[in-house]
């Protein structure tokens, strides 16, 4: 069966420090991968998605970037964190070329920028 892993679970970082969050998927090949952020309040905002190695689409301009160095690995990064980058970051995957299939989310990383 497929599983999705995210780490770390929680992170406290000072303003101006770099960031690297990692997400990996097991048990499937060629997944679509996604990064979402949930800021204060409830809504989830799509940040990035990827349909393959090295292919990244950005949904909103921001202080963050994403990379996909391997088929089942998705990394969210920042060179210099801002206070506004605080939030709950969730990675998700869905099967490639299958519109009629649900998305599965990881357990999330709670980031606090101080």
């Amino acid at each position: 069966s497929q599983t999705i892993h995210q780490w770390p679970a929680t992170l406290v970082q000072p303003v101006g420090s770099p960031l690297s969050l990692e997400c990996t998927v097991e048990g499937t090949s060629n997944p679509n991968l996604y990064w979402y952020r949930q800021a204060a309040g409830r809504g989830l905002q799509l940040l990035f998605y990827s349909v393959g190695i090295g292919q990244i689409s950005s949904e909103v301009p921001q202080n963050l970037s994403a990379s996909r160095p391997q088929d089942r690995q998705f990394i969210l990064s920042s060179k210099k964190l801002l206070l506004s980058d605080s939030g709950f970051y969730l990675c998700a995957w869905s099967p490639r070329n299958r519109d009629n299939y649900g998305y599965t989310f990881g357990s999330g990383t709670r980031l606090t920028v101080v």
């Binding site: 996604y34 979402y36 809504g43 689409s57 969730l90 989310f105």
Partner: protein
């Protein structure tokens, strides 16, 4: 993108009560999911339901795609049902992600 409205935004019920959560969306979709976010933040997939009706235990969901809405029914509520319920549709035709509503915050009191 798709606009998603969920109602009510907050709901407080006694254990054992039934509830209906509504999701309206602005465009035709070929994918719609309901999620429950537990107190630890985990998003748990409840239903994949782009159309029709599904049931899973005390929960059921109905999506009327032609009228652009979906309903989530919770019967005989339990305290463990507390949390935030999200509706997330997608237009399809590509790899773009789900669009989330703001959620319904449900509190079940013992």
């Amino acid at each position: 993108g798709i606009q998603v409205e969920q109602s009510p935004p907050d709901l407080i019920l006694q254990e054992g009560a039934n509830s209906t959560l509504r999701c309206n969306f602005s465009d035709s979709v070929n994918n719609l999911q309901w999620f429950h976010q537990n107190p630890w933040g985990q998003l748990i997939n409840l239903f994949y339901i782009p159309s029709g009706t599904k049931q899973n235990g005390r929960l059921s969901a109905t999506t009327v795609a032609t009228e652009r809405y979906s309903l989530l029914y919770i019967s005989s509520s339990q305290t463990t049902d507390s949390g935030v319920y999200f509706c997330a549709p997608r237009r399809g035709g590509g790899a773009d992600g789900l669009t989330f509503g703001k959620g319904t915050h449900l509190i079940i009191q013992p």
